[in-house]
Symmetry: C2
Subunit: 347 residues, 2 copies
C-alpha cells in the first residue's frame, strides 16, 4: 500500500475538516495526527486579525498541537499509528542550508514553512494550523510526546515552552545566575518554571503587585514591582540575565539598567515598534541585547523530553473551540493563567 493510498483510506471520507479548507494530500514521509489539544498563542490573534499583514484566508491558526497519530506514510520510520505526537510553529524548512543542517530550522536561510499561513508545495494554497481535527506533516517536523504528563498542559510547550527553553539553554542560564523574567503571561510563566528548574535564582519583574504570589508558586524566588522606584533603584545592576517576554511597547532601557556588567537581556517578545536603545546602556556596562526565536526540531524534542522528566507543563485553562473569540479578548486583557488550550473534542 503506498502512502497516498494509506492516507486516502482514512481521510477521503473524513467529516473532520471544514469543507472550505483544502486538505494537505499526504506524502510518503507524512504523519497524520488526530488533534487532541491546541494551545492559543498571541501569534494566532495577530494572524487571524491580519495585524502583521500578509494573512491568507481562510486562516486556521494554532501551532501548539498535541494529538495521536492516526496514519503514517510508507516511508515513515519514527512514528506508528497510536503514538502521541506534537507539532509546533513550523512544519518544514529548506533542510539544505547551514542552519537546517545544524537543526536550527527556525533560522532557515530560505524561510521556514509556518504551521499556519505558511507557503506550501503540496497543492494547498497555504498551511492550516491546529484549530482543527487533524493535521498532516512531514515526520521530520513532528515531535514525540510523552504519556507521562497531562496533554493539555503539554500543548503550549510547543511554542511558549521552546521559545523560553531555547534561549535559556543557548545562553547557559543556570546555577549561580540571577535572572529577571519580564512579563508574566504564557511565555513568562514558562520562563519562570524552566529557569528555576535549571537552578537559576529567578525574579519576576512586573508592574502588577497582585502577581507576586503566583510568580512565587511558579518558581520565582523574588518579586520586583517595576512601578516601585525604590525597589527598582535597589535592583540596578543586579541581574545576569533578563528574559524579556513582553510584546507590548515598553521602555527597554529601564530594564537594561537592571543588568550587571556583562549582563544580557534576551528578547523573545516582538513589539511592533523598534526598541530604542541608548548607546551607553549597552556600552557603559558591556551589556548585550539579544533575541531568540522558538527553537529547532532537535531542541524542541530535547525540551519536551526534559519537561516530561521534570514534570513541567504549562498552566492552562481548557476551552471548547466555541469560546475562541472570547478567549482572544481575555488574552488581550491578560486575563488567562497562563494559556488557553482548545479541547478539540469540542469541534
Amino acid at each position: 500500500m503506498n502512502a497516498t493510498k494509506a492516507f486516502a483510506a482514512q481521510s477521503s471520507t473524513s467529516p473532520l475538516a471544514p469543507h472550505d479548507i483544502p486538505r494537505r494530500e499526504p506524502q510518503a514521509n507524512d504523519v497524520q495526527i488526530d488533534i487532541m489539544y491546541c494551545g492559543v498563542c498571541h501569534s494566532d490573534i495577530h494572524t487571524a486579525r491580519n495585524e502583521w499583514g500578509g494573512t491568507k484566508y481562510p486562516c486556521v491558526p494554532g501551532h501548539e498541537i498535541v494529538g495521536r497519530v492516526s496514519a503514517i506514510g510508507s516511508n515513515v520510520t519514527r512514528f506508528k499509528v497510536g503514538d502521541l505526537a506534537g507539532i509546533g510553529c513550523l512544519v518544514d524548512s529548506c533542510r539544505e542550508c547551514d542552519n537546517c543542517k545544524q537543526g536550527l530550522q527556525q533560522y532557515c536561510d530560505n524561510g521556514i514553512v509556518g504551521t499556519y499561513n505558511g507557503k506550501t508545495s503540496d497543492g494547498t494554497p497555504h498551511t492550516f494550523g491546529g484549530y482543527s481535527k487533524q493535521i498532516v506533516a512531514d515526520e521530520s517536523f513532528v515531535l514525540h510526546i510523552s504519556d507521562r504528563l497531562p496533554l493539555a498542559g503539554v500543548a503550549p510547550l510547543l511554542c511558549a515552552g521552546i521559545t523560553t527553553y531555547s534561549p535559556l539553554r543557548h545562553w547557559k542560564v543556570g546555577v549561580g545566575h540571577k535572572i529577571g523574567v519580564l512579563g508574566l503571561g504564557g511565555l513568562g510563566h514558562m520562563a519562570v518554571k524552566l529557569a528555576s528548574s535549571f537552578g537559576a535564582e529567578v525574579t519576576m519583574i512586573s508592574h502588577s503587585a497582585h502577581k507576586e504570589a503566583d510568580a512565587k508558586r511558579l518558581g520565582a524566588t523574588h518579586f520586583l514591582l517595576s512601578s516601585d522606584k525604590g525597589q527598582m533603584n535597589k535592583a540596578l545592576k543586579t541581574f545576569d540575565f533578563i528574559l524579556n517576554t513582553v510584546s507590548a511597547p515598553h521602555d527597554y532601557n529601564t530594564y537594561l539598567q537592571l543588568l550587571k556588567t556583562n549582563g544580557t537581556m534576551i528578547c523573545v517578545g516582538a513589539p511592533i515598534e523598534p526598541a530604542k536603545i541608548p548607546s551607553f546602556s549597552l556600552i557603559g556596562q558591556r551589556r548585550s541585547l539579544v533575541g531568540s526565536l522558538i527553537g529547532g526540531i532537535p531542541e524542541t524534542q530535547e525540551m519536551l523530553d526534559y519537561c516530561a522528566e521534570k514534570g513541567i507543563t504549562s498552566d492552562v485553562e481548557i476551552i471548547p473551540i466555541q469560546q475562541i473569540n472570547e478567549a482572544y479578548e481575555r488574552m488581550l486583557k491578560g486575563d488567562v493563567k497562563y494559556r488557553f488550550v482548545i479541547d478539540m473534542q469540542s469541534l
Copy 2:
C-alpha cells in the same frame, strides 16, 4: 624624603603648567610624567565644547598620553624616573567593587575618575588631561610603554586602541571569523589592524568608495560599499561580527541584517540618539547587539604589549598644539588619517 617633598623639588618652580590650571599635589603612590605626545579623540571635542553637558572649565582635554617619568612618589614600585609611561581614559576608580577587583575598572560601580573633567579628591577642582606638559597620577593607572615603537603612534592606542582591542578579545574574534568594521576613522582603522592581526577576515564597510585602497592597506581583505544596494544585498547574513565604530546617527538595522545567525554587532561608538532596533532583526536570527567601553588597566597593558610585539601603531598626523582648533574642525569633516597627535614640545 617623603613623596610630597620629592615632587615639590621638581614641580614648585615648574614653568610648564599654565598659571590658571590648578596642579595635582603629588601623593606617595603617584607618578609624574613629562608628556611627549597626546592623541586627539572625538571625546575631547565633545567635552571641550560641552556637547555632552557637564564640562567643568577650565578644561584640559587629552587621554591618549605618552611621555617619560620625571618623578615618582615614595611608595611607587612599578616605575622609575626615565621610564616611558602612558595614561589612557581613566586615572582612578573605587578599587573596591567587583569590577575594579577584576581589573575592569572602566565599569567601576562607583564611577571612574576620567583623565580629564573627572571628580577628584586631591584638592584640585577636577582632573586635567594630556594637552599639557605634565600629568601626575597614581601608578596603578599608569601603563608601561615599550621603546620599540614610534611613540606618537602609540599614544592613540591608549583610547582608540584599547576601545577596539577589548571587545575583539572579549568576544574572541579571530581565525575563522568574518568581521565587518563599520566606519574608517580613529577607532575603525585600529579595529582593522587589530582584527586582522588576530586572524579574522576583515571587511571594511563604508559609504566612501575612495577608502577602499586605504582599508586594504590597513589589513582589510574586502571592502563593502554600503551605498551600493547590490553589494549590500549580497552581503546579507555573511558576517559573524560587525564592529560598529560610528558615533554619528545611523541606521543600525541596515547593518544588523548583514550578520549571520548568532552574529554579534559590537558597538563602541556612542551616538546621542538611541538606536532603533526592530525586534525581528535580533530575534529572527538570534543576533546580539552589544556594547563595550575602552578597557581595564590590565587589559590596556596587555594591548600595549601586544602592539609592541606585533609592531602595531595608529596612523597619525602630528600637529603642534597651536593647530588644535583647526584639527578639531578637520576631525569633524573626517579629514584625518587617522588620528591627530599633539607633539607636546610645541607647548
